[in-house]
């Protein structure tokens, strides 16, 4: 058949069949037993030409309300941020996006070096010693941090703050089921992990303690107070972190975190309905040989030239098979590249400026809402997200906002019954003062 992705001509086919020594292509499928051979026509929609398909899919995309048309205050782990134009131009270099894992370093130095630079940037932001080449996303990276902790400490109990992203906690629980681990949630108090409850649960059987920084409510967890409680029992301290916040906040590594994970989505990766995003995974040196996923290391070639290779592969599934502690193979390399490009574009100064802008705009929005009589249940310091009490069903409010072209915040009642009627509001650098004021006006007056 004639198709733009299939280059074989009838003449090619004839010659090739002759070389093989068969009469038809069907003869090459003779080893498929009759009883399992598929005879009919697959019920797959008929092929469309490029212009026809483009038209159809443009129309399908237009059925969605996108963040470039609407004004969004929705975050909850996924954020609408400035993506420098250079990012997509680099990603569109097909030498990057049509390559696979750099198994042959001599013709993959570009990808390997880009990952080495990514690893460095993750270490710099998190204050950690070693970072891998990426994980699927923040949630699965956190689950892998738990598995590493369990394997390292040979303990089977995990403590996780209930102020960690609800979906991350769900993923953690699914992973825990397989290895029959006990996952215990620590309640929050005043919007951050309840230290007394944590202390009460700590014991010699705890593999790791997991908190998020800033946490799901946007609050800045007191890592300094949590760390001694964790290390006193020789447990591992796992911190999930929004990397943009680390432009302003003290790095978790500086507070003694053993493993820091999170999602690089705020740097150059579009929201795209929740994926693909880009998990990151960083550890202190003692855990280097237990880190999951691919690692790139620097070395030299026969002439003493600097080069990069995949290294410490003895950790990985293709070598260790059933003895591997992680099964990850494909990762999110292209999105790690996107994050690297965005971080290079923003640079030392831009990351700080963008983080500060998020914080200032979020604080402006919260004050404006408080002036209108909306109360927040949490008084602690926060980054670019905060909780307000609406005193009415959040979905109802969001429905009205939508009519005004605004996508409202997250309905916390979905995950925290005690926070029904509370909205998690995210304000990024892309929201203007005018948009924030409009949002506040549309919400009307609070019932505080």
């Amino acid at each position: 058949m004639l198709h733009r992705y299939l280059p074989m001509t009838e003449e090619d086919k004839r010659e090739m069949l002759k070389t093989i020594g068969v009469a038809s292509i069907d003869d090459l499928f003779a080893d498929i037993p009759e009883q399992v051979r598929f005879r009919g026509e697959m019920k797959v929609k008929p092929a469309k030409s490029e212009p026809e398909l483009w038209k159809e899919l443009v129309a399908l995309a237009e059925k969605n309300a996108n963040l470039k048309q609407y004004v969004s205050f929705l975050g909850a782990g996924v954020y609408d941020h400035y993506i420098p134009a250079v990012v997509d131009h680099v990603l569109s270099r097909s030498e990057f996006y049509t390559a696979y894992t750099p198994y042959q370093p001599e013709i993959s130095q570009g990808e390997l070096q880009a990952i080495f630079e990514f690893q460095t940037m993750v270490c710099e932001l998190t204050g950690m010693d070693v970072a891998n080449s990426s994980m699927y996303d923040g949630g699965t990276a956190l689950a892998e941090a738990m598995l590493l902790s369990v394997a390292h400490t040979k303990r089977k109990k995990v403590l996780i703050s209930s102020a960690v992203h609800p979906q991350y906690r769900e993923v953690v629980r699914t992973y825990a089921k397989g290895q029959q681990l006990e996952v215990k949630e620590i309640p929050y108090d005043g919007g951050v992990t309840d230290l007394a409850a944590l202390e009460a649960e700590m014991g010699d059987d705890v593999a790791c303690v997991v908190v998020q920084y800033p946490n799901f409510f946007g609050q800045i967890e007191p890592l300094k107070a949590i760390e001694p409680l964790v290390h006193e029992k020789k447990s591992l301290f796992v911190v999930a972190s929004n990397p943009l916040a680390l432009g302003i906040l003290t790095a978790p590594g500086a507070f003694g975190a053993d493993i820091v994970v999170g999602d690089m989505q705020p740097f150059g990766i579009p929201t795209q309905f929740g994926g693909p995003h880009c998990g990151y995974f960083a550890v202190k040196t003692p855990l280097m040989r237990k880190i999951p996923g691919r690692l790139v290391g620097q070395t030299t070639d026969e002439d003493g030239r600097r080069g990069f290779v995949l290294t410490l592969q003895a950790r990985e599934q293709h070598i260790r098979r059933d003895k591997a502690t992680s099964n990850i193979c494909s990762n999110q390399a292209l999105n790690a590249l996107a994050a690297s490009v965005a971080l290079s574009a923003l640079g030392k100064r831009g990351v700080k400026e963008m983080a500060a802008m998020n914080m200032q705009k979020a604080h402006y929005a919260k004050s404006a809402l408080e002036q209108r009589g909306f109360a927040s249940p949490f008084a602690g310091p926060f980054f670019n997200e905060f909780v307000i009490r609406l005193g009415r069903p959040v979905d109802e409010v969001n429905g009205r906002l939508l009519e005004k072209g605004i996508i409202g915040g997250y309905d916390l009642g979905r995950d925290y019954p005690e926070l029904a009627g509370h909205m998690l509001v995210a304000v990024t650098e892309l929201r203007t003062k005018e948009e924030i004021d409009r949002f506040v006006n549309e919400l009307g007056d609070g019932h505080a």
């Binding site: 198709h3 899919l57 690893q119 003493g304």
Partner: protein
């Protein structure tokens, strides 16, 4: 040490920027007033300071030091390095797909849910399964998801003694690793000299403790497991489930379906068979299909079609739970959907026909020059052994490195583990006969060089930006990040 290609950090100079943020339009507040002193970062992260042009030159230079499918032939076995259509990229970048938030009200993302639902329907039909989840992010993630569902199924039947997962000795490394992560013990079943699963050995290892058999079909030797029906019977009779590793689905589209072969769970690699670009290592997408009796255990949420449109069903009491935040690698799923709709039923069938034709053609032409351990028709890939060249002092690794001088990406090497000095070659259907012939000629020349002038092969590559790299030192004294010289 010669640093021919500077790191982005080495191009950095304080005072340069490559970003453009709007001016702050809300009252400025010093962040030190908003963050307690202990939590206010004092040590700045060492990030690059470059101009926009510096940045583009840097990454353009890096891209030139990388080989992708658009650069040249990439016959990496089991990875299905086919052409990545450009319309897929354009569609995935439409604002209505790229810039939608996963937690928006369902009524504002009907187009996205419709696409996902329709993709699931197509994947069901292509694999012969009853339901599909798009949540897993990659093949290995799909394997683990499938095994967790199998575990939940057995446990729901009060069957807690099924602790073992059987994998063939030719299996991908992810199979046993996924079994371990899912809490199972791995048992290996042998292959026969014909390269197929040894049925007698399978009968020996299967039993009341069998949770599942994981199988790739065609297997990693590129051979169709022709006793599949009997194998399914053996496993099912023992109460186990049959798991299909979809890495090699490119061989059988429209020709045979895992569901019809007796498989209970299937994972697909949309970045292989369905043209999601490999991205230098990812992102991929690893949907999982199941038969009806496993539907209750699917990860949640499940996309449903109701009277008022599409919705996400969270009310799934027997679900294994979430395997990933949100709904999977949507952006990759958009590309796969675009591809399926570009091919249609006949196109997909032609994909497998040409993938198999190309592999058999290459295999026949190379059989004279390299050892062919399994001399029968292959499917979409085949293995050669370099043992003949090894006797001449030329290893498979050398052959792979020599291929670089001809502008080709080498095949997968030293896998499967059961073949000595293995080369696993997968041409895919998108390559022309001229390309296949050029690669074959290069392989023939290398075979001759191994006999007449082995040094040229042993010392390869000669034309790349770096020569062979010292991997031993890299692992012994790891340098995993750049440190600014002080």
């Amino acid at each position: 040490m010669r640093n021919d290609q500077p790191l982005i950090f080495e191009r950095s100079k304080p005072g340069r920027i490559a970003y453009s943020l709007p001016a702050l339009d809300v009252p400025a507040v010093d962040v030190s007033e908003l963050v307690p002193a202990d939590y206010l970062r004092t040590e700045e992260p060492e990030l690059p300071e470059v101009s926009e042009l510096d940045l583009m030159r840097h990454y353009t230079a890096l891209s030139k030091r990388n080989h992708g499918v658009d650069s040249g032939f990439y016959p990496l076995g089991s990875c299905t390095m086919k052409y990545n259509p450009k319309i897929n990229e354009n569609v995935a970048r439409l604002a209505g797909f790229a810039h939608i938030h996963p937690l928006q009200p369902e009524e504002t993302v009907q187009g996205a849910l419709e696409l996902m639902y329709d993709l699931q329907e197509h994947l069901k039909e292509i694999t012969g399964m009853d339901a599909v989840t798009l949540q897993p992010a990659a093949g290995a993630h799909g394997e683990w998801t499938g095994l967790m569902m199998i575990r939940a199924y057995h446990e729901a039947n009060g069957d807690f003694g099924r602790t073992k997962v059987i994998v063939p000795d030719s299996a991908h490394g992810t199979n046993p690793a996924s079994a371990t992560v899912a809490g199972f013990e791995t048992v290996t079943v042998r292959s026969t000299v014909d390269g197929l699963v040894d049925l007698d050995d399978l009968k020996r290892v299967v039993g009341p403790d069998t949770a599942a058999l994981m199988l790739t079909n065609p297997n990693t030797l590129g051979l169709f497991e022709e006793h599949i029906v009997e194998m399914a019977e053996i496993v099912h009779e023992a109460g186990g489930k049959l798991y299909y590793d979809g890495a090699n689905l490119n061989a059988i589209l429209g020709k045979a379906r895992p569901g019809d072969m007796g498989f209970d769970v299937v994972h697909l690699n949309l970045h292989k068979t369905f043209t999601g670009p490999h991205g230098g290592g990812g992102p991929g997408s690893g949907p999982v299909g199941v038969k009806a009796d496993l539907i209750p255990f699917l990860p949640k949420p499940v996309i449903e079609k109701g009277e008022n449109g599409y919705y996400l069903d969270y009310d799934r009491p027997q679900s294994i739970g979430r395997v990933k935040p949100f709904y999977g690698n949507f952006g990759i799923n958009v590309r796969a959907y675009t591809y399926i709709r570009s091919m249609g039923p006949d196109g997909l069938k032609a994909v497998s026909e040409y993938a198999v034709l190309n592999a058999n053609y290459m295999m026949r032409r190379l059989a004279e020059y390299y050892d062919l351990p399994y001399d029968r028709h292959c499917k979409h890939e085949f293995v050669l052994s370099g043992r003949r060249q090894k006797k001449l002092g030329v290893r498979t690794l050398d052959i792979a490195k020599r291929l670089l001088d001809f502008g080709f990406h080498p095949p997968t090497i030293y896998f499967p583990l059961i073949v000595e000095e293995c080369m696993m070659i997968e041409p895919t259907e998108t390559e022309s006969k001229e390309t296949l012939d050029a690669f074959i000629e290069a392989m023939i020349q290398i075979a001759k060089e191994a006999e007449e002038n082995p040094e040229i092969v042993q010392e390869a590559p000669h034309t790349t930006v770096v020569k062979r790299l010292d991997e031993t030192t890299a692992a012994r004294k790891p340098i995993l990040r750049y440190q600014k010289e002080t």
